[in-house]
Assembly symmetry: C2
């Protein structure tokens, strides 16, 4: 991992570690929220927020509440997706999932509270009111009934029937790409970028989000429990449609390459100083982490 | 029900009925959200938003997105509270609960999406950015880890052990009063009221919220399934601490009276034209609906 990425991650981890630490009668809620939020991961979404804020000339520290909000939304979605009535996963990043470590009610409530906390973070950031308001609205749309939650509904529906190529794209456009797009655009907005830069960041992040999902499908097919922290080939076993089951492994790898190139192309001309983001795109592609 | 209340309710129902009606591939999500959101109820929270907006000189129609947001948060909380791992209720207002009518995953996701939609409503309202931003932040705090969700955590913990008077107050201050306070203050903010009026609305709503909960405990003790849409004396049966089990029925009725008087007192001097809100307080007290 390159130093710039590590620097962003350190700041994000430090910020998140300071959340939900007060002494409260509802300690159990805070404990579960922190358990989910501080469970590791690459922090790619908040890193995008920080880096886009930096490359448009902003101070990344000012973007920290936006970055934290994105990670809180992502974490809540994982916590709920893992529940028995959804994906029913016992492990996440090699640790028991929230409902296994605590119980179902606690996992549901921790997710609910993380979602509200995300909006609290965005709306109380040390940035102008119009910036906070716009960022909050982008986040609400990305997370909500026409964004991430829609994607999870389509994904669950896809477990009981084969999906077409178009349907599979709809799943990932909503389930994965929408929040990654919000992460990138919130960075541009926090840093005071132009409308053209917001558009470019959104295109970059959409392609990266799809690439990210194709990579996940390939890893699931090829991967092992040590790398992903979840059982081998679980998608194939469940009969779920993935980029690999739909297109085959070779074509999926080509598509991963194509999406990654599309992501990188979106940056050119819109921003200076894109070396970090270009490296990041390759890093995701090449699975060197 | 008085005409002014009915007028607000009609506007709110009309506004909510128009939500989540577009034709989408994730129709199932919209259907579940609408099922929960349009399941009736007195709509007391959004009515407070509309009425407080009106009495500080605002146009209640402008406050509709705030009112809708409050009802969406309330609805999501009921949908999640009813889940098997929480209160495990099959009936709500005489109808099957969302997870019974659909399934658990759908109920969790409908709730998640309603929460995001609430913030979308507030942040996209036709009101100045500073008003939207402040309202969104108040809503996030009221709904989140130090507000409504904290109350539900305390409430669930109270099912396995007797609560002290202080603990019971903490439950209802967070679980019920916080969102009712947000409903009232969002109305004042939407209508352009003063800081003193925001404070007075908050005090009114806090007392009303506690009164509301005491009334619920009394109704549960005395009530019948036709009136509440849930089984008789379910709190007593489960050994749960309520105002009635803690203080006895007579004292609980006195406390209900005291809180209602406190609510009414908070209005005097802060607002003109409080007849509607005074009537509302009595209406809740006297159970004439």
């Amino acid at each position: 991992m390159e130093q710039w990425y590590r620097t962003h991650v350190d700041q994000i981890e430090q910020y998140l570690s300071a959340c939900f630490t007060e002494d409260r009668p509802w300690q159990a809620l805070y404990t579960a929220m922190r358990y989910s939020l501080l469970g590791g991961g690459k922090r790619i979404r908040p890193v995008l927020t920080m880096e886009f804020s930096r490359i448009v000339g902003g101070n990344p520290e000012k973007a920290l509440p936006f970055a934290a909000a994105i990670e809180m939304i992502h974490t809540y979605s994982l916590t709920h997706d893992d529940l028995p009535s959804m994906d029913n996963d016992d492990l996440r990043r090699g640790r028991p999932t929230c409902h296994i470590r605590f119980d179902e009610a606690t996992a549901i409530l921790a997710g609910d509270a993380l979602q509200a906390a995300a909006f609290r973070e965005v709306l109380s950031a040390d940035l102008p009111e119009d910036v906070r308001c716009r960022a909050g609205l982008i986040l609400a749309r990305a997370a909500g009934e026409d964004g991430m939650v829609a994607g999870q509904v389509l994904d669950l529906a896809g477990e009981t029937k084969p999906l077409t190529a178009e349907e599979l794209e709809q799943v990932h456009k909503h389930k994965t790409a929408a929040l990654i797009q919000a992460a990138a655009t919130l960075g541009v907005i926090a840093g005071g970028g132009t409308e053209a830069q917001i558009g470019a960041a959104s295109r970059f992040a959409k392609a990266l989000g799809i690439a990210f999902q194709i990579r996940d499908d390939i890893l699931d097919f090829e991967g092992d429990v040590a790398q992903l922290g979840k059982p081998i080939g679980s998608d194939v076993e469940s009969g779920k449609t993935t980029f690999v089951t739909l297109y085959g492994l070779d074509r999926a790898k080509e598509m991963l390459q194509e999406q990654t190139e599309a992501a990188k192309a979106a940056l050119i001309g819109a921003f200076d100083d894109i070396d970090g983001l270009l490296w990041l795109s390759d890093w995701l592609l090449e699975r060197k982490y």
